[in-house]
Symmetry: C2
Subunit: 234 residues, 2 copies
Amino acid sequence: MVPTRAPVSTAVYDALRADVLGGRLVTGDAIPSERTLSEHFAVNRHAVREAVKRLQQAGLVQVAHGGATRVRDWRATGGLELLADLPASGDPDAVRAGYELRACLAAEVAARAADRAPRDHRSDLRARSDALSAARDGGDERAVLDAYRRLWDVLVDAADNVAYRLAYNSLLASEDAAGDVTRPLLRAELHDAAGVETLVAAALDGDGGAARDAATTLCAHTLAALSPEAARAR
Amino acid sequence: MVPTRAPVSTAVYDALRADVLGGRLVTGDAIPSERTLSEHFAVNRHAVREAVKRLQQAGLVQVAHGGATRVRDWRATGGLELLADLPASGDPDAVRAGYELRACLAAEVAARAADRAPRDHRSDLRARSDALSAARDGGDERAVLDAYRRLWDVLVDAADNVAYRLAYNSLLASEDAAGDVTRPLLRAELHDAAGVETLVAAALDGDGGAARDAATTLCAHTLAALSPEAARAR
DNA sequence: TTTGCATACTGGTCCAACCAGTTGGTACCG
DNA sequence: CGGTACCAACTGGTTGGACCAGTATGCAAA
């Protein structure tokens, strides 16, 4: 019943990651030795090593056999997946940055999805669009978001480009990590039924230009909600 | 002198990652138990655990205490950093996909860099542009690529958006992973001196639209070299 | 001053054991 | 016969300790 408690290595990982992303450890700093860390966190050295492996995989540190483990310049070497961790580490601008990237990506995805428009995706598109409308009537905000995501899922698949797919995944992960705080900001976009209908129609028509415009219009809602003016109003 | 041999956990990680990305292990499959793997690779179980931790961090597997470790659907959950691993795992389209994403990203970066155009970056931009010209005269292709990258580095910084920065990093990592094979394809873009000059001038002018167009033109060179027609000609 | 090496760090690997969950089969009870 | 409870055999999680393998540093000898 009780959710399995997180492994100890995760606690170490979270702490170190927060120190790096939060700027308490800066590029070039040597993190304490594994033996020191294991003592500090009161865990076995193996657990520390697993945490460090994850940091290494995330591109946050560079490990040198015999030498110290040093913090890398993640702004210069980190991948997009780090975006999900930034808001929790005290970088509020990361959310806006993510949605700006999404706007750029969504426009391209919509255009390509419309241009390539594989027949297999057409019925899916219609179905997801209908499901989104139904969710709006249902009134459950979370369900609306899910339905909206599933609609874009089809478009991203239709765009037929792994890089778009993976980047989109990273952005969704980032959105999830930001949590409920930013969810109200999406409301205008989620409930622009006419905008979504325009997008779907353009995609089914194979009109890439119109699809791109429709996607841009949709994303603009959320960008507006994230603008400095809107932020001051909150 | 001899480069330090890779840790054994890396060998296990590479093998398992290749199995997942290469499709030999598909979504939902359970990977062998840690004890089995440690026996199979003739390494200690801790080494296997470190490898699995990295797979988990990369989003390729899902670990369950007491249950089996299962392969996740990385196309649905993986982040952009996976793009670097795809070509080596037998997905040749991944390279083209990456450059398509770059084209979309570069246009946006150029536009924003021009619009925001912080004064600090102006002299940098000029300097990097001159360095690129000098590198072209030098004749060292690798130096040209480095100089070109440094130019874009300034533009990405000037665009002032972490998400763009991180996505750009992922794309560079992917380009590096692809290695020398794809490098000749960049030649036309790297040596379009007039195109680069147009881009830099637009950025210094603060003309976002012109910068976007210039970036698109530049990226088009490489996209053309990657087109199906060009691929057949090779 | 410079060179070179012992030494005390750093991370890398192994062994062995036990804890903590999950799963599945089996024996028991209704 | 059907259902339930339980136990045994998995799975991953964690610990301790030992030793190997590189790196950095300071002191002693040239």
